[in-house]
Every structure is written in C-alpha cells, then in structure tokens.
C-alpha cells in the first residue's frame, strides 16, 4: 500500500514540478535574455487584486501565455494526417516527463526514523519503511534514459510529417537526423562513466560519487560531450535548425497553434530540466555535496579516523542528555536541531555536525535542486549567447568531433582503469 501511495505522490510531485517549471522557465528565459541584452524584459502584464496591480516582475506573462494558448483557435491543416497530427505533441511532451522517473533526486527517506539521527541499522531492518526519492529504480538506469530520450525524436518527426507542409517536413527531417546523430555521441560519452562507476543504475552512480568524487572530476571530457549532446537533443539554439525560423518559418511545429504548440514549447523546456537533472546525477554527484553524508556534515582531517556510528551515537546521546533536554516531553524537531547545533564540535580532529534524518533528506533534495537550477541557468545562458549552427556544421560536430572524442574518452578511461587497478579490473 505504501508503495502505491508513495509512487503516486512522487509521480504527481515530479510531473507537477516539471510542468510548472516549463512555465517558470518561460519567464526565466525571457527575463534572463533581457538582462543579458541590457533590456528590462517582460513587466507589463499584471494581476489586479482589490484594485492593486501585481506585476510579479513579469511572471504574470507566463500565466497570460497559458490563457492565450488555451483560448486560441485550435486550427488543424485540412490535408494532413489528423491522428498523427494530434498525437505528435503528446509524443513530444511525454518522453521528457518520463525521463525523470529514474533520476534519484534525494537520499532515501526512512519515514519511521525521520526525526532521529541516522543509523545504518535502518537499512537492514526488515520492517523499515523506506521512501527512496526516485520514482522507480530500474536496473537498466541510464539505458532507460537513452531509450525514452530517443522516443522524443518521434514527436517532432510525426509533427513534420502529419502537418502536410514542406517547411514542417524539412523541420521534422532535420530534427530526426540531428537527434539520431547526437544520440550516438550522447550514448558513447557516458561509456567512460559506466566503466568507472561499474554500474548503469543511477542511484549507485550517486552512491559512487558520494564515496569517491564527483563524476566531472574523473570524466571531464565525458561531461562536456554529454552536455553538448544534451543541448543538441533539446533542439534549442545553437542547435535549433529543426525550428530554423529564418529558413523554415517554425520548422516541424509550423502548423501547430494554441495548446498543441504550447506542448511542443513546454516539451523543450521540460527537456532542459531533465537534461540538467541527468547531468547533475551522473557528473555532479546528484544530491551529494562535499562533506555531506547520511548523517550530516562530516569533515575528516587527513590522518584522523572516520567517526564510527557508535561514536556518533554516543556523541548525540551525550548531547541529548544535557540538562536542557527532556526526552519525556517528546522529541520536537526544533529541540533536536538545537541540540545538533550544540553537537557541532571537534571529534577526533574532525568537524562533525550531525542532523536529524529529515534535515539530511531536505538538504540532499536542496543540493539536487540547486545544482539542477544552476545547470538550467547555464543552458539558458548558452542558448542566448551562441548563434545558430549551420546544418552541415551540426552534422560535422556530431559525427566528426563528438563521436571520435567520445571514443577517445572511452579508450583513455579504459587505459587509466587498467593502469591504476591492474588487469583484473576494479
């Protein structure tokens, strides 16, 4: 029962956040580009509440856009393929939403112990009720991402075909060829990471990075290659030849209006979110941050031994038995936090600051969100900085630069692993 509840809650949460993120990113994109170009950006639309007009720095424009899209005439090309035409926006929007299913966005939550200090014993408890902050934990992990991201091609290709418009068809062709090309580089750029992590499961990748170091430090080339391919997959500037408004009107969604167009547009923005989330998970340590462990912050000086769970437990116990703390009054989160702050002390030459379990989960979640937000910001920055590539340049970059570079990355990674770990492997 808990499984189903938590699955529905997590799915609703993720889909809700992502769809709303599309609206927010619309605002971010407009405002950010305005800031970059020494403009003011959108700020006119307002909501009137009791005669007072709230402009919310232009955020209302996103709402106005939504209302506009809903009320627009839902025009369809008369000679096109009706079924495929209606299917295409759905196929374009759903895969980016599905991608998030396998991404771990926070540490595992032990709901029975949320207010306590972390104990590794929970993980082995048969009765422990756990909520992994990940919709589903597939063994195929990243391969699922490749498969579903690949399905995104179908949406734009269908739209291009079903619109019965030459511009749309050209756009659909370009989208299909570009995405197929970059899928190859994208897949190969992660092989080095698989070799190091020795897994394709995303939660294990995060665990590896928590234990060792962030993926970007062991796979810098892989990070760049994957980032470039991911931006190309989103079909946005500088890789927006499928849209190519200077040549193809609007490319594969030329014939779309209203909410169907909105689904393409928000699909693009959701893709920005998911590709950032994937980059964070694989290369930037997921919800991990330096000195952040299951228990809180632990900074171990070189030469000092790590704090064992027993010491930590003792440590917390000693602080919870101080005069100000009365266990009979119930453990309130505020009192626990207070006592943990007191526990910020030096143990065995190390800084240790343990938090209750819920705080660890919240901070982990925050880490993930902040890192993803940073990458989204950088993606938008790149989108508004670079001019569009020519079609042949995109193909050349994909097949002649990224693909060989990804292969070299695999070779170098394999050599390095053999060198450091010997022929038997890690």
């Amino acid at each position: 029962m808990l499984f189903w509840i938590q699955a529905f809650v997590k799915i609703a949460l993720i889909v809700g956040v992502l769809v709303n993120m599309a609206a927010i990113l619309l605002w971010v994109e407009r405002k950010q580009s305005a800031m970059m170009q020494d403009r003011v950006g959108p700020n006119r639309a307002a909501i009137a509440v009791f005669g007072k007009r709230f402009r919310l720095a232009g955020l209302v424009h996103s709402i106005a856009d939504g209302i506009k899209m809903v009320w627009k005439e839902d025009w369809e090309p008369k000679t096109g393929d009706k079924l495929l035409y209606r299917l295409a926006p759905i196929v374009a929007l759903v895969p980016p939403l599905c991608l998030f299913a396998v991404i771990p966005f926070g540490p595992t939550l032990y709901i029975d112990h949320a207010r306590e200090m972390f104990s590794p014993a929970w993980a082995t408890e048969a009765t422990a009720r756990t909520v992994p902050l990940q919709i589903t934990n597939l063994d195929v992990g990243v391969l699922f991402i490749f498969a579903v991201a690949g399905a995104g091609i179908i949406g734009s290709a269908l739209a291009g075909w079903a619109s019965d418009n030459k511009f749309s068809l050209m756009g659909g062709l370009r989208a299909a060829s570009q995405m197929v090309s970059y899928e190859v580089a994208m897949g190969l750029s992660l092989v080095g990471a698989f070799m190091i992590y020795q897994t394709v499961r995303l939660d294990e990748m995060v665990a590896w990075q928590q234990e060792h170091t962030w993926g970007i430090f062991v796979q810098p080339l892989g990070f760049v290659l994957f980032a470039v391919s991911a931006i190309a997959e989103t079909k946005r500037v500088p890789f927006d030849v499928p849209e190519g408004e200077s040549e193809l009107v609007a490319g594969y969604f030329t014939e779309y209006a209203g909410l169907k167009f909105g689904m393409f547009a928000s699909g693009e923005l959701v893709e920005v979110c998911t590709s950032s989330a994937i980059l964070v998970t694989i290369f930037l340590g997921g919800w991990h941050m330096p000195f952040f462990t299951d228990r809180g912050l632990e900074f171990i000086f070189r030469g000092a031994s790590a704090v064992s769970p027993e010491v930590a437990a003792q440590f917390v116990a000693s602080h919870t038995m101080t005069p100000g703390f009365d266990a009979s009054q119930g453990v309130t989160t505020a009192s626990l936090l207070q006592h943990c702050a007191n526990a910020f002390a030096s143990v065995n030459g190390s800084f240790v600051w343990h938090w209750p379990h819920w705080a660890v989960v919240v901070v982990g979640l925050g880490n993930f969100v902040l890192k993803a937000a940073f990458l989204i910001f950088m993606q938008l920055q790149i989108r508004w900085t670079l001019p569009r590539f020519r079609y042949d340049q995109i193909m050349k970059l994909g097949w002649q630069m990224l693909l060989p570079a990804a292969l070299v990355n695999v070779l170098v990674t394999g050599t390095a692993i053999l060198f450091f770990n010997g022929p038997s492997g890690g």
């Binding site: 800031m35 970059m36 403009r39 003011v40 700020n43 920055q381 790149i382 900085t385």
Partner: protein, 209 residues
C-alpha cells in the same frame, strides 16, 4: 609600370578558435557580465535613467508610456495657442497663418473687440480658431508666419491615434489647453501690453508726443 598588389590573407584561426570551446566560454563571460550587471541594477532599482543618460552602461530600456524621451525643442508637434498674461489668446486674428498654410487646414473667424475696448481698431480676436490636424502636414509655416508668436508647435505631443475624423478637428479651447514642453501656456517672447512701463517709447496708449 608594374601594378603593386597587396595580398590580404584571411586572419589565421588558431587551434583555440577552431575548437570553439574556448570561444564559447569567452562569449559566456561577456553575456554573464551583462546578466549580473543588469540584474543587480534592476533588483537594486539603481539603474541609470535611460532618458537622461542614454549612453550609460547597463539597462537602457525606456519604458515608453511611463517614461518618455523628450523631443528636440525644434521638433514640430501638435499646435498650441499661446496665452497672454490674462489667459486670453495672443492671436490677433490677422489670418497670416491660415494664409501661409499650404494645406489650408486653419480656419479663423475673426471678431472685433467691443466699441469701448481700447484694443478695438488695433487688434481683432479669433472668435473661432480651428485646425484640422488630419489635414495638417506639420510644416511649421503657420508658426513662422505668426507675427505675435500666438501659434506654436512646441507641445512635444505627437498626434495620437483617435478613432474618428471629427476628433482631429481641434478648436480654440482645445488648442489653448496644451502647454509647451516646458509646461507653460505663455511664450518665450514676452508680449508688452500697451502702456507697459518696462517698454519705454511710443505706444498706442501713451501716444507719440
């Protein structure tokens, strides 16, 4: 004589340029600099006034209906009829402007002052003063022709879009209701009423002897 040729080669692109990655980072540096500067200005509300400092660094947008860049002083906008000190129009209904008007868009109905008025016989006043602003070509000849500086085009207003032709026919009251860009109804050229002490010499009140 042999022609000398100077061969200009395309500037060589270095490997760093070719790789594009470094150039992308440089470009991002430029845009990020602008982004943070603009954001800081807008968030703090401490941005250069785009009207007064149009060439200052930073956000340069003039938010038009709220902020306006003033027109040049010689810019010809909607006409106004200047006032005397007592609020009556300076126009003496000499019909110079309507005569000079190439578009013939000015109609003046002159009227005499009452018999007992000192100005009777010297000046008239416009009982009606109508300009068809749709027909006007904004050449400024009326302003040049006026001997009394009674009609000016220094309101700084451009013609707004009204929704019917009748609205563009401005009568005397309307023309007198526009101030200049400096927000005055008077003119920069002072008018000396007859008998003004600051204006010595002959005039029609003091006589010539």
């Amino acid at each position: 004589m042999t022609a000398t040729t100077k061969i200009i080669r395309k500037p060589a692109r270095t490997l760093a340029d070719q790789s594009y990655l470094l150039e992308v980072v440089k470009g991002l540096g430029v845009t990020l600099k602008h982004f943070f500067k603009g954001t800081a200005q807008l968030v703090s509300g401490n941005r250069p006034d785009p009207v007064k400092e149009p060439y200052a660094e930073g956000v340069a947008t003039i938010e038009y209906p709220d902020e306006k860049r003033p027109y040049a002083r010689r810019w010809r906008g909607v006409h106004r009829l200047t006032h005397r000190e007592d609020g009556s129009p300076r126009c003496v209904a000499c019909l110079c402007c309507s005569t000079a008007c190439p578009a013939q868009c000015i109609y003046i109905k002159p009227a005499e002052y009452p018999l007992d008025d000192a100005r009777r016989g010297y000046e008239r006043y416009p009982e009606e003063f109508v300009i068809d602003e749709l027909r006007c070509i904004f050449c400024g000849f009326c302003v040049e022709a006026c001997p009394c500086d009674a009609i000016r085009m220094d309101t700084g207003l451009h013609m707004t879009a009204l929704d019917n032709r009748a609205s563009f026919i401005f009568d005397k009251a309307m023309l007198m209701s526009f101030p200049s860009q400096d927000n005055t109804f008077l003119s920069e050229n002072p008018r000396h009423e007859p008998g003004d002490e600051s204006h010595p010499g002959i005039d029609r009140v003091r006589g010539g002897h």
